[in-house]
């Protein structure tokens, strides 16, 4: 197992460097000149020659004339910058946001908490509903309930999440007025302690419901399909023939086998929901990573966008790692194969 884990981690590290290099070069395609931007204010008060001299000095100081690979290595933090210090991603320097006028790490401190909170919450909610529902439908395959759920789930995964959001806002916030339309807390309120938590949950309720609802369709279908596959295996018949109780057959014999594809799905879906929350956060005006990312892109704040892009990449890589590891945990055969 240890060898397997190490191998996977090694592979992912390589992928991380490839992807991050790709991203970095992509962002370098943008025609921007931080040195010129920094000198812009002084341009008028300086003589052209002096200005040019300062500009060139600054470029050298910033290391803008160095080859792409070296700049990348500096940015990621494995090569010393012009001053001979290691000051990159690995050292915790994510860059400087020109839009918010502060360090990127300060910009994302709060949004990242919000995003992780709503995503994990939505995941737990969705899993709590889809797994029992999927198993029930698989066991009662072909029943009226199952057919109804099938149609419902097709609708669920066909409709884009922002349309679901619009419909839910219309129903819950406009017609019935149960939840607020958007935002993160009651405007002007200054609640503390439990009151603040309750207030925030009240504002997060609708986005969470929409996120959960949006992922019900695909998840339920997947759980159902893999459960049906597992139930049609020979060992299930054997178990039943031996007189094992139906509950044990379903939850122990079949479900363990259905778990493997389900885990793949859960992880990939968890990642999907992270990018999907870009839409939710924008629709509901939640100050999370998604809306910050859009803000950064819209305002050409590319250092911030690059850092956030790296966040999404790292999340997806960690997701891939967890998938691999849980394969190993759930299915002993994987460990031997590799």
């Amino acid at each position: 197992m240890a060898k397997y884990v190490l191998k996977r981690i090694g592979y992912l590290v390589v992928v991380f460097f490839i992807v991050s290099f790709l991203m970095y070069s992509l962002y370098n395609l943008i025609p921007s000149d931080p040195a010129r931007a920094q000198l812009e204010e002084q341009k008028k008060s300086l003589k052209p020659e002096v200005y040019e001299q300062m500009y060139q000095d600054l470029r050298r100081e910033m290391g803008l004339d160095d080859p792409l690979l070296l700049r990348y290595a500096r940015w990621i933090g494995v090569a010393p910058d012009v001053n001979g210090e290691f000051n990159g991603l690995f050292e915790g320097n994510l860059g400087y946001s020109i839009f918010f006028k502060k360090n990127v790490i300060e910009c994302i401190a709060e949004p990242i908490q919000t995003t992780i909170f709503i995503n994990i919450f939505a995941t737990i909610l969705a899993l709590g509903i889809t797994i029992p529902l999927g198993i029930f439908c698989a066991v009662h395959k072909g029943s009226k309930f199952d057919n109804g759920v099938q149609v419902f789930t097709i609708i669920g995964y066909s409709i884009p999440v922002y349309i679901i959001a619009l419909v839910f806002i219309f129903l819950f916030a406009v017609v019935w007025r149960i939840f607020p339309v958007s935002g993160m807390k009651t405007p002007g309120s200054n609640y503390t302690g439990l009151r603040a938590v309750v207030d925030q949950l009240y504002y997060f309720a609708l986005p969470l419901i929409v996120m959960t609802f949006g992922s019900l369709g695909g998840m339920t279908r997947y759980v159902r399909a893999s459960m049906i596959d597992a139930l049609s295996m020979d060992h299930i018949r054997t178990a039943r023939a031996k007189g094992v109780r139906e509950k044990v057959v379903i939850y122990s014999h079949a479900w363990r086998n259905a778990l493997l594809p389900v885990i793949t799905l859960i992880i990939s879906w968890f990642l999907g929901i992270f990018s999907g929350s870009v839409i939710i956060e924008n629709t509901f005006n939640i100050n999370g990573m998604g809306s910050l990312y859009i803000k950064a892109l819209n305002n050409h704040d590319y250092e911030l966008a690059l850092a956030m892009q790296m966040f999404y990449t790292v999340v997806s890589l960690i997701g891939a790692l967890i998938t691999d590891l849980s394969y190993g945990l759930v299915d002993p055969r994987v460990r031997i194969d590799k």
């Binding site: 992509l26 097709i154 924008n282 892109l297 999340v315 891939a320």
Partner: protein, 609 residues
Amino acid sequence: MANKKEKHSFLSRLFGNRNKIMDSMIEEQVQSPGRMMLSNFLHNKLGMTGLIVFLCIFLFVLIGPYFFPLDLGYSDNTQSNVPPTNNMMTLPDGLKNNVKAIAPGTTFGVGCDNDGNVYIWGYTKITDVIDLANIPDEVKEAHIVDVAAGYDHVTALDDEGNLYVWGNTRLGQDMVPSELKPSRLSGPKNIVQIEAGYQFSGALDDQGNVYFWGNGNMADLDVKKDYQGHVKKFAISTYNYCLLLDDGSVVYGGLQASNAFTNIPANLSSGVVDIAASGDTMAAVSEDGTITVWGNSTHGETNVPQTESKPVDIYGGRYHYTALMENGDVISWGDNTHGQASVPDSVNNGEISTVFAGFYQNYAVTTDGDVKTWGLKGHALGTDDLGRDILTRIVNGGKTTMTVGAISVIIAIFIGVLLGGIAGYFGGKADMLIMRIAEIVGGLPFLPFALLLSAIIGTRVSVEMRMYLIMVVLGVLSWTGICRLIRAQILAEREKEFVVAAKAMGVREITIVFKHILPNVLSILLVEATLNFATCMLTESSLSYLGFGIAPPTPTWGNMLTGANNSVVIQQYWWRWVFPASIFGICTICINLMGDAIRDAVDPKSSER
């Protein structure tokens, strides 16, 4: 059995009665796998419903643009946020055969009958609280003889010379000048003409004096003193007015030194019989029947058609003119977006006594009192905030959305099949490399990455290039699924006997992969392509919804929903999101239903599940 073979036409094979009961042996022999799949698919009710509905939507967006051509630069502030209506030209029963005056407004019409009653029809809501349909009680009691409709207010005149204004009166639209009010000294004023423009109104008394009141910030409301007492008629454009004086000349009455109207053509210094104004132009008819148009002509208002008969009266809409001829015929010219310049034949068959034209509507009253109408009836699915017709945008947006989806899928299939085929058949290092690339691309967070690509490259290219860019981005990011599937299928197929046989025959390897093995995985590819099509459409619309996909004004089903996420739009302008959202939802549901049905048809095992 072979001698009992019946001949079938292609149609009967596809749709013919196949209720003949066959035992399983015969069935196995008769049906080829392809036919089996087809019959499986045809018997799947959900799948067939999906197919039929999808085909309907597909034809709708394919043919629709020819009937609802899209003008990308079009916007119209008088038609913004109008709900689905078709009664903008529907006269109330009380007004039929009893018309005294009609004034067409932006999205409504107002009229009065010979008994002095006022009627209002069409979409009359100006804001949440202001509704033109709430006719004031004093107006209901008065005997109204003339009405005028502005952008958001209505002016009415009763038989005692009183003026009434209702609707939006926040900018002084109801500040009727004291000179126009009946006074004890001079008795009631005899007002002969009233008109209304953008937040202002004007009235002419029988002494030849003209008065204007309302919002003077935009409009030129002052009158030069020299003209007072000589005015025969006046015409109001959006912000300005012109006067026809009693000596037959046309003058610009306001105090503005120069604008589009002050430069009046020289031939209008005498002999003018009638004047009218559209939104940005003025027109005058001379005694000899020539029509002269001046001002800012943007919609072909100056293209006066040649006619045999002499025009005697002229009426102006927002971007069109209608003229009544000496022989009772009617002609219209100018903007024809809403059909306001296409006079129906029935109008010219009857004897027309007068015409009321305004904004986008024309009402022609025949000598026996009947009213013929042509122009804008309403918007079937409403309009958006820029006054663009939702139906037109849905039709044309659907075309864009589907094109983008289809081309991205084709790109994805091309890359996926090529790489998947190579990886699956050749294995070894090629397989290793390709699958690692697929893993990396598949591992990229899709939506953020697409957003990034669109933001970085998309801002520097033209709108059209950006559309192609989105297609390529979607295609390049979504081939991994197909690649993996094809590889797995080919891995299974390449061990089969026919491949060994082909190899033994000396067939080239590349031919084996793409000619011998690929047809076997075609059905699965079809399933994947169908489902991918829906996914690509969804992704494109999500990108457009966030503002990083196809940029407005090019419509797509996604960017029509941009900005719909605030409570005002959701609640009050529901038609702006309900229609695009539902047709898009139905479309993707149908594609997915179809994909599922094809999968069930292709994979016989699945029906046992």
